[in-house]
Symmetry: none
Subunit: 207 residues, 4 copies
DNA sequence: GATGAATGAGGGTTCATTCAT
DNA sequence: TATGAATGAACCCTCATTCAT
C-alpha cells in the first residue's frame, strides 16, 4: 500500500478531467475513468460519492473563482453611477481577463464548466455569466438611449443578444483552442470587433 | 376510441419534438415520447422505424432546404471572381436570410437540427455551416490582407473564429427567441456589428 | 363485402404457407402474412385463433394423411410374422411412396411439416417417422442377427442410426428440391444405396 | 460471496452452452442464460461483449480446428490427379475422422456449430462441409461416369444429394449420440453403407 | 367482416452504483 | 485500501395478440 490516498485521488481526478473533457458530464463513463486511473470503478466511490460529486470536486475551485470574480464585477457595476461607454468596455475586459486568467490556470476545468456541464448542477454557469454581461449591456444601452434609463423591449432584447453572443463566442473560443496566447488573441479580437462595431452602430444611430 | 392515424402520428411528432428539444437526440427517451403522446413505446414503431427515423422525419424538410440553400450560396461563392467586401456581406446575408426563413417555418426543428442533433446523422450540420461561413471569411481576409491570398496562421485562426462565432451566435439567437421578427432584427444587428467591426478593424490595421 | 369468407381464408392460407416456408414457424411473422394476404394482422384472428392454429390448419391434412399411412404400415409390420428382407424394403418403399405422393399433392406443406415446424406442436413429426422406420430396421436387424430377435445395444444403435439418417436424408431431399420427378429419382437412388449397401454389409458380416 | 472470475465465466459458458444447445443461437435468451448461471443479464456483459461474442468464444476453437482440417483436405483433393475411388473414400474418412475427433473433444460445441448456428456468423459451416464433400463426390461420379469428366444434370444432382445426405447424416449422428466410441462406430457404418452401396450401384449400371 | 391502433411481454444491451471480500 | 462481481433500472426495439371502431 505505498500509494497514498491523495495520490490516488489525484489520479482519479486526472482521469476524470480527461474523460469529462472528451465526452461531457452526461456521456462520461465511470468505468472509463476508473480504467484510465488504473483502478476499478468501485474504488472511485471511496473517494467520491457519485459522478456528480466527482464532477463537482473538479470544477468547484474554478467555479468559485469565477463566481467570486463575477460578484466583484457585479458590485462595481451596481456601485458606479453615470458610467461611460469605455467603462462598460472595461467591465467587459474584466470579465474577459478573468476568464482568460482562469483559463491559463485551469483550461480544461473552465472548458468543461462552460461547455460540457450539461446534465450536472453546473449546467447554468454559462447562463449566469450571460446574465452578468447582460447587466453591463443594459447599462451601455441605457446610457446611449435617447431616453436614458428607459429601454424599449427591442433594445432590451438587443442587449440580451449581445450579452449572450459574446459569452457564447468566448466559450467557443475556449472550446476550440488549446493555446493560451492564441485564446487571448482571439478573445481580444472578438471584443474589439464587438466594441468598434457597437460604437459605430451607436454613433450612426445618433446622427 | 379510434383515433385517426394522422392524428396519432402528429401527436407522436409533437411529443418527440418536445422531447428532442429538451434532451437532444441522444438523451431523448422513446418511453418518454410515448408517454407524452399517450401510448406505449411499441406503438411508436408502427409509425416510425426507429429513433433515428423519427428524428429524421422531423428534421428532413428543414435539413433539405438548408442544404439546398447552402449549395446555392457555395456555388455563387466559387463562381464569383474578384469579390468585394460588400459581396461577402451579401453572402452572409443570404445565409442569414435562409436561416431566418427556415426558422419562421420551423423554429423548433431548426433549433434541434443545429443545436441538439449530436449522436444522429445530422450531427455535422452546424459544422458544415461554419465551414461555409469560414470560406467566405477567408475570402474577406484574403482580399484585405497585405499580401492578398496569403494568410498568416493567425489570420486563418481569426477568420475561423469569426466564422464560428457568427454561426454560433445566430444559432443562439434562434435558440433563445420565439418571435420571427425579433429574430430577424437581432440577427441583422449581429451582422451589422460584426461587419462594421471588421471594417473598422481592417481600416485601422492599414493606416 | 363482395369477398367471401372462404376466399379470404384461402388468401390467408396462401400467404401463410409462403411465409412459413420461407422462415419456419418460429420466425414467421403474422404481420408479413397479413400484408401478403392484403389485410391487417387483426383480421387473421377472425379466421384463426393463433399462429399455432393457423399453422395447424395448414398442415393438418398432410399430417393426418401421413399419420394414417404410417399407422397402416405400422399395423402391417406388427401383423406380419417371419418377414424377409425384401419385405422390409417394401415397407421402406411404402413410406417412401407415401412421402412422395404427399409431396406431389402438397409439396410445401410436407416440407414445412418435416423441416420447418420447430417451435410448433408438429415439431415431433419427423421423430415419429424415424421411430416407425426404426421399428422396421429393428426387424431387419433382428432377422439378420446371429441370435434372431436379440439385438445387442450396438445393433440397436445401428438400426436407430439407419432409420434416422434415411428419414433425415429424405427430408433433406424434399427441402432442397422443387421438382417432383427429381425428388422421386433422388429418393429412389438414396434408398437404393442404402439397401444395396445394407445388403452387402449384412452379407459380408456373415461370411 | 466473492466468486472467482474464471469460475463465473465458466458458469456462464456452461449455461450458455445449454441454452444454445436447446434453442439455437437465434432463440437463445441472454436473460435465460443469466438466470441459469445465477446472475443478472448485465453481468454477462462484463465477460462477453455481446451474444455473438459469447457464442463465438464457445465455438471458436472448434471452428478453427474444423476449418484448418477442411483446408488441408481441400488442398489434398485439389493436388491429387487421377484419383481412384478408394482415394475418394479416404478423403471422406479424413473428414469423418476430423469430425469425430472434434466431437470427442467438444461434442456440444460441434453440435451447435453444425446444427444450431443459424443467425450467427457460423451459419454457413455445415454448408461449407457439404460443398467440400460435394467436390469429392463430383470426382467420384466423374471417374465412374461413362464419359469421364462430363456429368449429366441428373448425375450432378445425385452427387449433390449424396454429399448433402452424408453430411446431414453425420451431423445427425453427432446430434443424437453422446458416446464417442458409439459415434465412431455409427459413422463408420454409415460410410460403409454409402460406399458399398455406391460401388454396387455403379457396377450394376455398367453391366 | 374488417380495421389498425394499441398493448405487454419479451428481446439484447448499457451503466452508475453497491458491497462482500 | 481496493477489488470487481453483481445489481437494477434504464435504454431501443420487436411482435403476437387484442379490441374499439
Amino acid at each position: 500500500m505505498q500509494i497514498l490516498k491523495d495520490e490516488v485521488k489525484r489520479s482519479i481526478c486526472t482521469a476524470a478531467l480527461a474523460e469529462f473533457k472528451q465526452h461531457g458530464f452526461l456521456k462520461a463513463s465511470m468505468r472509463q475513468i476508473a480504467e484510465a486511473a488504473g483502478m476499478t470503478p468501485g474504488n472511485i466511490y471511496r473517494y467520491f460519492k457519485s459522478k456528480e460529486d466527482l464532477f463537482g470536486e473538479l470544477l468547484q475551485p474554478v467555479y468559485e473563482e469565477l463566481t467570486m470574480a463575477m460578484g466583484t464585477i457585479k458590485q462595481e457595476i451596481d456601485g458606479s453611477l453615470c458610467v461611460e461607454v469605455k467603462d462598460h468596455l472595461s467591465f467587459l475586459r474584466q470579465i474577459d481577463a478573468t476568464l482568460i486568467r482562469l483559463f491559463r490556470e485551469s483550461s480544461t476545468e473552465l472548458n468543461i464548466l462552460l461547455n460540457l456541464s450539461e446534465g450536472s448542477e453546473y449546467r447554468a454557469v454559462k447562463g449566469d455569466l450571460v446574465t452578468l454581461v447582460n447587466q453591463i449591456m443594459l447599462d451601455v444601452y441605457g446610457t446611449m438611449s435617447e431616453v436614458p434609463g428607459m429601454l424599449s423591449p427591442r433594445e432590451q432584447a438587443s442587449a440580451r443578444m449581445v450579452a449572450s453572443t459574446i459569452m457564447e463566442s468566448i466559450c467557443l473560443i475556449l472550446r476550440e483552442n488549446e493555446d493560451g496566447d492564441m485564446i487571448k488573441m482571439l478573445v481580444d479580437e472578438l471584443l474589439f470587433m464587438y466594441s468598434v462595431g457597437i460604437g459605430e452602430k451607436m454613433r450612426l444611430r445618433h446622427t
